[in-house]
Structures are given as structure tokens and as C-alpha cells.
Subunit: 106 residues, 4 copies
């Protein structure tokens, strides 16, 4: 597994809203990956079900926080610039973003 | 939840509700860990925000499924056997389980 | 959950787990009904979208609290007594309860 | 309670994103209010806990749908027009919208 890619290779190419925070997202996702590995370890060690559930809830919360961050940047960049371009383009991006939010709420 | 498990490998040691399905949980958590790694890779490759959010929603869903499985076994084993022992013990375990469910709902 | 109830009024008839707290649930649901009516009023008065969303989130939270209360009593009564009766009966009730929890998580 | 206000009285004043759909939101919220009343009735009639929980989950889902609709119009109108005005104004509205989404995810 190679998450800490060298910046030369992983240098921003597309103008994604989150590009500026790429390293921050890498770190957060690496931490979440470690939390999931920790939950697997708890299962191996026959940890108490409730303690495992508490960790699962913590990971879900961390993923929600990542989603909120990505959405904020997406709406602030992609959606807003599409809307500046044309109403149709804007409406399409807004619809797409709301479909994503609806998937998170489910 | 129908988890086909190789009992030889995952032989129960502690009397946890999920012990019988240990290997299945290991596999599911390994898959979730891989999904999180995949999301980090999407960030590296400047994937489209909405596609990343779709993957984050999928991981959250997979974690919910794990929680439901753990809860089912916890209630069916720990809670029920505590209740058979004494009403106080049972009520305490029920309260504890509901606190865990409340954390998942948040 | 600490629900102070006038037992005289809410005298248990059916053996439901929540019967003892019937009046408390009535009051809570009446309050939620009022909150929903308040949201409709906000729409009538062209309130700010975000303020409406805050109220919708509050109602959702109140409904979650009701669910947690009902589940706690259901598991503490119906599920536990079914499990005392027979393993099959208990497993069926546990499965049914988890299906309900899964619907709440979605 | 008077939700079906005559349009003369309830005529759109503020330029809210949802103003065009006001009647639709009124109808949806009136239906949700009726669903909550139905849940209270189920408690009165000692309905089975699981059946009540199913109804609570249905109301939560209906509220989520209302939130998604309000958010779509809010982002498509208030947020986009604020962003057209100035980057600061846009960022502030995006932040505010995401805080609202975070409250819905909790």
C-alpha cells in the first residue's frame, strides 16, 4: 500500500475543489484506514461487541466529516463555477450534489 | 445475515456472540479497509468529488451492515443470557446496547 | 430515557413494553406533531431555508429518541421474554428487531 | 391548525428558493404531520412496537426528502447568487449550507 505518494507523481492535475487539501485528505483517510484495521484487530482479539460498535460509530463519524469537507469544496468550486457558466449547467451540478447528499443520508 | 465461515480457522475462544462468524467479519473489514484505501487513491488521482462521495457512502453502508450483524449477535447472546441471569443484569445490557444504537444513529 | 408518567391515566392494557410509558410517548409525539406544524408555518412565512432545515433536523432527532425508547422497551420485554420461551422464538424476535434498526439507520 | 392558507394571504414575499413549491411543501408537511398523529394513535391502541418503529422510520425518510428538496433549492438559489455577488458571500453561504447538512447527517 502506498498512500504517501511523492508529490511529483501525485501533483494536482485536475482543478478539483479538494486539490489544495489533498494531503489533509490523504492523512484523514490513512487514519480511517488504520481505524478499520483496528476494528479487525478487535474482532481477532474477541473484544467486547459494544466496544467494537463504538469504534465502528467513530469511523462512520470520521467518514461523514470527510464527506462534509468534500461537499463544501465541491459546492464552493464545481457547482458555483458551473452556475456562473449557465443556469442549466448550474442546475445539473446542484442536482448531482443533492443526489450525493441523499446517498449520505441513507 | 448469512455468513459462511470456515470454523476451523476462526475457532471460538471467548464467548462473544460474533465469535462463530469471526472469519466473515475479518473478511468484511478487510474489504472495507481496501475500500478506504481506494478512496485515498481516488484523492491522489484527483477523481471527481461526487465519485469519491459515492464511495464514501458505500463504505458507510458497509460499516452499518457490520454494526447490524454485531448487534444481532450481541442482543441474541450477551443481552439475552444476561436477562436470563437476572432482570437487573438484563436491563443493564439492554441499556448498554441501546446506547450503542443511539451512537450509530448519530 | 427518564419519562415521568401518570400511571393512573396510562394504565397498561396490552403487554407492550412501552405501555407503562404510554402517556410520555403521547406527549412526545404530540410535541413532534407540533414541531412539524411549526415547520409548515415557517414555509408559509417564507422563513430562511437554513432555519427550516435546522427545525427538520430537530424533529428527526426527536423521532430517533422515540425510536431508541421504543426499542429499549421492546428488546427488554418482547425479545427477552421470547428468548426465555425458546431459542427459535428469541432468534426470530432478535432478527425482527435488527431489521427495524436497519430501517432506522437508512 | 390552518396549513392550506389561501394564496392571497400566503403569497410569496421573500425570494426563497422553495417559494415556487410552497404548496407542495405544505402538502408534504401536512402528510408528515398526519403520519406523526398516526404514530400517536398506534401508541394509544397498543400497536406492536416494531410496527410503530416502521412508521417512525417512514416519517424520518419523508423528512429527509423534504430536507433534500429545500437544500437543492437553497444551493441553487441563495448559495449560487451569493457566490455571483462575491467570493466571500458565496463561501459564507456554502459554509452555512454544509453546517446544515452536517446537522442532518447527525
Amino acid at each position: 500500500m502506498n498512500l504517501s505518494v511523492d508529490e511529483a507523481g501525485g501533483a494536482p492535475v485536475a482543478p478539483r475543489g479538494y486539490t489544495a487539501d489533498k494531503d489533509a485528505y490523504r492523512r484523514r483517510l490513512k487514519r480511517i484506514e488504520g481505524q478499520v484495521r483496528g476494528i479487525a484487530r478487535m474482532v481477532d482479539e474477541d473484544s467486547y461487541c459494544i466496544d467494537i460498535l463504538t469504534q465502528v460509530a467513530a469511523v462512520t463519524k470520521a467518514l461523514h466529516a470527510v464527506s462534509i469537507g468534500l461537499l463544501e469544496e465541491h459546492i464552493g468550486h464545481c457547482v458555483v463555477s458551473a452556475a456562473a457558466e449557465s443556469e442549466e449547467a448550474g442546475d445539473a451540478k446542484v442536482k448531482e450534489a443533492l443526489d450525493a447528499i441523499a446517498r449520505l443520508l441513507r
